[in-house]
């Protein structure tokens, strides 16, 4: 199986599974507790059907959309995800360049393995920095300044990881960052020698945004759940978010808003966008899926901030449904992560291109030529 055999999300997932040592694959692939929310995130899309319009003359389709004041060529972007160099030695460099190629936004995690300075010198596509609010206020301030200096366009504060989710697959495989060899993982690393060779020879693994401040995750092996629980500030509240928002002074979003009440409050503190998200099912299992919750949120704040639907997206039609419901754009992690693991930049480019092609085709089949043609009139819920 090679990259050219990958025609969809599950093909990329299959290839990633072959390439990655199993603790790393399961870190991407897994979610919290029984993974009920994780599954529902995708299933939710299947309970609503599309009703197309015909004979509309659909030769040229414009997929561009504007969020956070930036025009993107695509109505979706790459969500920030941690530790990308564990998935492929090119890591964030691959995802960033691929995002640039398709002129969409690139989300960079606080736990990124390539620095914001390097990323901003490398690409000029819109960039989002995902902020984890640490106990160490000095660290928080330092990060804001660096990200400002690196001229990022958007700051997103993640609010759904106040403590680590219970990712049982990571417990079983003993996943830590940087990877620590346990007996059961040893075998898995040994049978994927290419991954091991690349990991060891392609530059030291580091968390450039944090390493001057903390050793966890960089030189001391820690699990991600443990990192959240010990390093992040559990007393973080609305006041802190508001302060961060004004300190940043640019486009600011809360990532992981689910309730209508919180969405309204996000507007009040000055956010210009929110990501309706449950962290890809990796935090609170049983949480509602973003797509199920989307309509309520759009009705409440859709005219005031950019509402982004994030999680569970595996198809162009999933995006069409979210956009029809009123999301300004969609975002996802796994939709490009398996492709990254499968083949680095080439893989991510192939995946992004497939979504683009799917969206274009599906727009035509819907009888729509621009994103603003999509509306709830195109949707019917099953009784």
């Amino acid at each position: 199986m090679g990259l050219k055999d990958c025609h969809n999300f599950s093909d990329f997932r299959k290839l990633a599974k072959r390439k990655l040592p199993s603790p790393i694959f399961h870190y991407i692939d897994g979610a919290a507790d029984d993974e009920v929310t994780y599954q529902r995130n995708t299933e939710a899309f299947n309970e609503v059907d599309l009703v197309p319009n015909v004979l509309r003359g659909v030769e040229n389709v414009d997929l561009s959309t504007t969020i956070f004041g930036k025009k993107l060529d695509l109505p979706f972007y790459c969500s920030p995800t941690a530790l990308q160099r564990l998935f492929h030695y090119q890591g964030e460099r691959a995802v960033g360049k691929a995002a640039q190629k398709f002129n969409t936004m690139f989300g960079v995690s606080s736990l990124a393995t390539v620095s914001v300075e390097e990323i901003s010198s490398m690409i000029d596509t819109p960039k989002l920095f995902q902020f984890y609010y640490h106990k160490d206020k000095g660290l928080n301030n330092a990060i804001v300044e660096r990200v400002k200096a690196a001229k990022f366009d958007v700051m997103a504060l993640t609010v759904d990881t106040i403590t680590g989710g219970n990712r049982e697959r990571d417990l079983r495989t003993g996943f830590t960052s940087p990877p620590k060899l346990t007996l059961s993982s040893l075998i898995s690393f040994a049978i994927k020698p290419m991954w091991g060779i690349n990991y060891v020879t392609r530059g030291k693994f580091e968390l450039p945004h944090l390493q001057d401040h903390v050793k966890e995750g960089t030189s001391t092996a820690t699990s991600v759940g443990n990192y959240f629980s010990t390093m992040l500030d559990q007393s973080m509240n609305w006041k802190d978010a508001e302060n961060l928002c004004s300190k940043w002074g640019g486009h600011f979003a809360l990532k992981g808003v689910m309730s209508v009440e919180d969405a309204k409050r996000a507007v009040d503190i000055g956010c210009t966008g929110i990501m309706v998200s449950n962290h890809g099912g990796r935090q609170l299992d049983g949480a509602r899926s973003p797509f199920d919750q989307l309509a309520e949120i759009v009705d409440a704040v859709g005219d005031k901030v950019d509402v982004i639907c994030e999680g569970g997206i595996q198809r162009g039609t999933h995006m069409l449904k979210a956009l029809s419901m009123g999301a300004k754009a969609c975002a996802g992690g796994r939709l490009y992560l398996y492709a990254l693991a499968a083949a680095g930049q080439k893989g991510v480019e192939r995946a992004l291109n497939q979504y683009r092609v799917e969206l274009e085709r599906d727009m035509k089949l819907m009888g729509c030529t621009k994103i603003s043609d999509l509306s709830r009139k195109n949707l019917r819920f099953r009784k």
């Binding site: 025609h7 899309f45 599309l50 198809r315 799917e358």
Partner: protein
């Protein structure tokens, strides 16, 4: 396993799977993307139940129904499908003859492998032609005029295929037309020698209706999806549809209408029918199923034009449910295509006979004497 072991859709499908090289079987069997719509098309029928009336002295039920100005002997007919010659060497001839025998419509695709003229020579039964609007407008006029001369009764314009659906099984199997051998498919052709021998020893494969206009698909091996994307006109709009209706001048259906708004528009431009269809789940995955959408359509345009429910029909009871909710008739594709692959004309006849018998028996069990007796009151949603 042989034809006489085939009692239902699944049996015919199983036999077709044995007979056909895998790329061809999967071309028929597959849908787009995750095939969610493909599955839903049939599942939707299970979301409601039939409620029979008893002691209605049914006797022998009358299954005739009128569609496209023709009386047909049962309320189910053959949807147009491309390239039937790949499924059996008799191709469209087998389907057309079988439909004639059972007294119902046969439909011919623009992408048929037998010509309009040839079919009208072999079958005197009622025939519909399905039009794809190509970028080359001369071809549209040419097809319409030829159908008129050849005695076709009805025409439909397919509108859900402005771009090809994402049929991933075809990517994986390297399905092209005419079939091209790849390493992976070679094995499958080799293990189905009868198919291969028949394919090679019978008349040459060609897209008989369009071959004089385009070489694509006839002499050059082309993916169907590439053909669609290169040849069909994505600018197609309501004026084009109206033009075809006028030029044809007879019973005319728009195939692939799903929204209420579009159904009303079809009435306005003078269509005599719509085929409520998502192309058998082969185009826009996530699209609503025809049966789910039927009540809304029937309410909006029932009585103003004929409503053909197309997609997911596997059983006589499916037909009865659709008719109860306001469809004039049903049509199906995969149902008869698997029968064609399983046994040519004999296969399609056997299948149509089974469907005929099912509809008849189920009408008796429902207590309905005529098609008109089928009403909403026969249906209960769960």
């Amino acid at each position: 396993m042989s034809l006489k072991d085939c009692y239902n859709f699944d049996d015919f499908r199983k036999l077709a799977k044995r007979n056909l090289p895998a790329p061809i079987f999967h071309y028929i069997d597959g849908g787009s993307d995750d095939e969610a719509t493909l599955r839903r098309n049939t599942e939707a029928f299970s979301k409601c139940d039939l409620v029979p009336s008893i002691l209605t002295s049914v006797g022998e039920p009358d299954m005739t129904t009128e569609v496209f100005g023709e009386k047909i002997k049962m309320p189910l007919f053959l949807s147009p499908t491309a390239m039937q010659r790949l499924y059996h060497y008799d191709g469209d001839k087998a389907s057309a003859r079988a439909a004639e025998k059972l007294g119902t419509f046969y439909s011919m695709s623009t992408m048929a492998t037998t010509s309009i003229e040839e079919i009208s020579n072999v079958s005197g039964g009622p025939k519909m032609f399905q039009l794809y609007i190509h970028k080359d407008k001369g071809l549209t006029d040419n097809l319409i005029d030829r159908c008129k001369r050849s005695g076709f009764k009805a025409m439909c314009l397919t509108v859900d295929t402005v771009v090809a659906g994402n049929r991933e099984r075809d990517h994986r199997w390297g399905f092209t037309t005419p079939p091209k051998l790849t390493l992976k498919s070679l094995l499958s052709f080799a293990t189905h020698p009868m198919w291969s021998i028949n394919y090679l020893t019978h008349e040459k494969f060609q897209l008989a209706n369009v071959s004089h206009f385009t070489k694509k698909g006839s002499s050059i091996a082309k993916g169907v999806m590439e053909y669609i994307n290169e040849q069909y006109d994505p600018k197609m709009n309501w004026q084009d549809a109206e033009y075809c209706i006028k030029r044809w001048g007879g019973p005319f259906a728009i195939k692939g209408v799903m929204s209420v708004e579009d159904a009303k528009r079809a009435v306005e431009i003078g269509a005599s029918a719509i085929m409520l269809s998502n192309h058998g789940g082969r185009q826009l995955d996530g699209s609503r199923s025809p049966f789910d959408q039927l009540p809304a359509i029937a309410e909006a345009v029932g009585g103003k034009l004929e409503i053909i429910l197309d997609g997911g029909v596997r059983r006589g009871t499916h037909v009865l449910k659709a008719l109860s909710l306001g469809a004039t008739a049903c049509s199906f594709g995969k149902g008869y295509l698997f029968a064609l692959g399983a046994g040519g004309q004999k296969g399609v006849e056997a299948l149509l006979q089974r469907m005929h018998d099912e509809i008849r028996r189920d009408m008796i069990l429902l207590g309905c004497k005529t098609i008109k007796d089928l009403k909403k009151t026969n249906i209960a949603y769960r």
